[in-house]
Amino acid sequence: MARGSTAARQSPSEATDSVLGRGARVRGRVHGDGSLRVEGSIEGDVQVSGELEIDDGGSVAGDVDAGALTIGGQLTGNASARGPITIRSTARVSGDMLGAEVVLEEGAAFDGRIEAEFELPPELTGRPGSR
């Protein structure tokens, strides 16, 4: 006997931030609005509209898609972001990165391809074979 408004206030712009704590583990799919910080581990695909941050010590095994992505922990899977992807020095990443820009810090372990939209500096544009 569900009367009244079961679908209460549900405005995507008011999505609150989510945290997966250090002692937490998810096996399955995570998706939705807002940002997500991963200190624990996720085995499955992640898709969030806001920022996805995989902390040092956190891990994701699966494909991720986010508004922006910061990796300080471990990612095994492909990543895409409308905004920037930042791979921190503590990160261990295996997968292809597709972002508006990709930052790879010194010390990070990275195995995969980086695809980012950017303009080459003028001194390189004349070289054959460069793209």
Binding site: A8, A15, T16, H31, L36, E39
Partner: protein
Amino acid sequence: MATIIGNGLTIEGEITSDEDVEVAGTLRGKLSAEGVVTVDTGAVIEADVSASTLQVGGTVTGNVSASDRVDLLAGGRLVGDVKAARLTIADGAQFKGNVDMDV
């Protein structure tokens, strides 16, 4: 830091945690926490839940068990069996299911 599932987030699968878990979003699957599980108003859980303490202010469909207690808060809705030593059901809460207090 404890786990918080924000109101825009949906998890389909299994969550285990050795800390507290607060759910404001949607969860389908299974939730096992060694700490306190709080289901906020507006949250939807379609899963079996086990926790030390479970506070239900939102909607839970599934069997729940708590090593300490289950509190069904006003506005909360629980459809499923409860296994806990202590259970409170607030005025204004909805509940359908069996209760096992392990007596």
